[in-house]
Symmetry: C2
Subunit: 504 residues, 2 copies
Amino acid sequence: MPSPKSTVAFAELRERLGELDDLTQAASLAGWDEQTMMPAGGAAARGEVLATLGRLAHARLTDPALGALLEQLGAVGDLDETDSRLVAAVARDADRARRVPDRLVADIARHTAAAQVAWHAARAADDFAPFRPALERHLELRHELAACFPEASHPYDALLHAFEPDLTTAHVRTVFAQLRDGLVPLIREIAAADAAAPVPELPGPFPLDAQRVLAREVALAQGFDDEHWRLDVAVHPFAQSLGSTDVRVTSRYDEGSLTSLFGVMHEVGHGLYERQADPALARTTVGTGVSLGIHESQSRLWENLVGRSEPFWAHWHPRALELFGEDALGGRDLAAFLRAVNVVRPSLVRVEADEATYSLHVILRFELEVALMEGTLAVADLPAAWDAKTKELLGLDVPSPSLGVLQDIHWAYGELGYFPTYAIGNIVAAQLWQVIRRDLPDLNADLARGDTAALREWLREHVHRHGRLYTPAELLQRITGGPLDAQPFLDQLRAKYSALYGLR
Amino acid sequence: MPSPKSTVAFAELRERLGELDDLTQAASLAGWDEQTMMPAGGAAARGEVLATLGRLAHARLTDPALGALLEQLGAVGDLDETDSRLVAAVARDADRARRVPDRLVADIARHTAAAQVAWHAARAADDFAPFRPALERHLELRHELAACFPEASHPYDALLHAFEPDLTTAHVRTVFAQLRDGLVPLIREIAAADAAAPVPELPGPFPLDAQRVLAREVALAQGFDDEHWRLDVAVHPFAQSLGSTDVRVTSRYDEGSLTSLFGVMHEVGHGLYERQADPALARTTVGTGVSLGIHESQSRLWENLVGRSEPFWAHWHPRALELFGEDALGGRDLAAFLRAVNVVRPSLVRVEADEATYSLHVILRFELEVALMEGTLAVADLPAAWDAKTKELLGLDVPSPSLGVLQDIHWAYGELGYFPTYAIGNIVAAQLWQVIRRDLPDLNADLARGDTAALREWLREHVHRHGRLYTPAELLQRITGGPLDAQPFLDQLRAKYSALYGLR
């Protein structure tokens, strides 16, 4: 039983967190609206609103009164486990926020706006040069940011922690080395098999209305409902929750491919993480996904481990045939269809990459980012380094910067440390999948009936409901009994492609 | 030239107002989204977000530091006219906000939520009784609110001022008496003419897609553009600006009538007021419509004075014929079409009322609200008083509360003092129109070509650009040389209906 003093202090904490969470939600809504609804002319005013909401939220998180409250609650130690985990999670946020001076936050915000303009100009000219000074300045600012966390053993750690708390550069290096050593030969074997007998692509076309119908039906089967979700169109698809009761996903549709379907499954996977957070964590700032990597594991699990699997399509392939016709799907054969949606072919652009080569795109960016932060790579030499690594990892020549070093907007935002979370998502999804397959022996039969309820419930129980109460490492340890490990991902890929491509 | 001290203080004021305006915009977006986009399940969380944003904005407006700044800037008196008007407008807001204790604001907010539940229950049961205690409590709270402004000569003044600054109950009484004395006989004459030879209604149907096409084309002709506006669907149509660069209007569509077209013109009229505010007033809280009455004058002007006029339809009637066919429009005759869209027939429901009888619905509510506040009418007797007044003013029997005293949600919000602004909008629109017709001799020819540019520019120059720099009375005085006056409205109605109905 907490003391009366702790009870009062915890109630005050909840009130402060409620206000902070409301401000964050208002900002999330403004961000969602900016990308889906806002007329273009509203951009400047929206920028001001977002800056103000961000500043007010930051002030609340760094408020010394909040700090004192957290310290008091942490020191007494008489809260129950959930409440003390909540206090610890918020204390970590507050510590991180307090360590970064307002001046630096403002400098970064200001430069980020300018850097985006430079990046767009560079993209338009298909020339890295206009972006170079902007990225150099970003790098300076990231060094300043890293200096706020002198206890880190590597300056890149501080950047990583913004997206993936507690993961170290050294650990990522180890895991990515394991990943790379497994992926490169696997992809080489697949490429040889594909060269000998190329997998035919789905002929299409896939009329947009039929795609919307299928995407919505699949989303409903995943757990989407009109009471708590929206599905809209966005140029760069994303998911955004406004608390667990209002979850918004977006997609884009292209007549030439079925990408939208996998994209919607991906975003609904993100959305379920938010939707299934424990309602008791509402308005605490803790009832949300714990890190980008764990979040990405949820989207990848649905997109790839469910959405590209045979049991899933055993149920949905007949419906796809109804909606698109057998010509568009290249015949009525499920096995051929599965080969087509699982094709592996190295390509230049990350967002178009397949399940196997995707992580190589991430490793490429991680290695370049670390080299930039370590000073062993100068920004001026980045385009050449990019092209060399693309050749090394993917075996491809980069014809121009817009298909290479300028393809992603992340660096325009200064977001070094973000890319690794994409590959961590793949890795964690596979680690979870291993446990799920053991815990849910009927999963394949369920999926073949279009039933995802048991899977969704497993995810709720083991991952979603906890929000940010456990760190990513703690969560992974609880579920898998171990740390981040690329082996299950590599094993699953090899098993799948051995069957599909007939590898030895 | 302002002193350096005033320059510094004014810059600080602008910074504070920028933050306040941003918070208000975030709340406006959250409100717009709630009515157009939000999944129903998000309602509770949205209520928290809106409450927090409202509380933070209120705290900023009542901040003693803001008060000191306003006092300093007002006392020195060395600002230019625009800046000192801005200071005066914000000082009025701050004074009003400071006069109402936080406790009362919270009580009102809490009771408003409960009263809405009661009102919906009463509506569902078609019985006033479940709503009665909620309205009684609202009335108590409004008396408490009125008591915060002891200098007012009538307790209803304080309620009125929330929507229509500086207008007194006595003044509204005088103007509404003038309005009533002119409207009642006019409507009686029209009813006699209509009984002798009923005006045929438009047969319809009006397919929704064609309505959307026409509504959009008309909106574009009014000044709507996709860079700065949105047009969406809402159950209760409204306009909402997020600064002057992002203006959002809504409509609803019903196959049986052309109401949506006039509704869109109405909302775009509101929107233009916001869109054409001086960009220099952005993020000052002053770059927005000055009062609900003046705002309503802008919507009514477009809906009725433009949208139901012969020159307007001289241009648009051929397009309507193209889109709906002559059967739906009851033939190809423009004169018959104009009679149909200008039909005057007393009816029970305010939101379905025509241009002439509409104001009687408002007078009815105003008289009842004043009697409630004066204590000469008890809430228990309100339904009977409503029915009696409906008989007296509109000559109609009320069959049930949902078509009578329970038809509007405003009282569930406790919004006494709001209704008068609807009739003030009609009156002001007519006063402005008198000046516009003098200033723009070619207006009819313009409208007959579908050209509204000169009208839009007139409104920008004389009304819109000023935002809240002038009080409503000052604005009206500048433009018309006099105060609020119902005579132009009555004269215009009589002239129009004399022609349409062949009155003597």
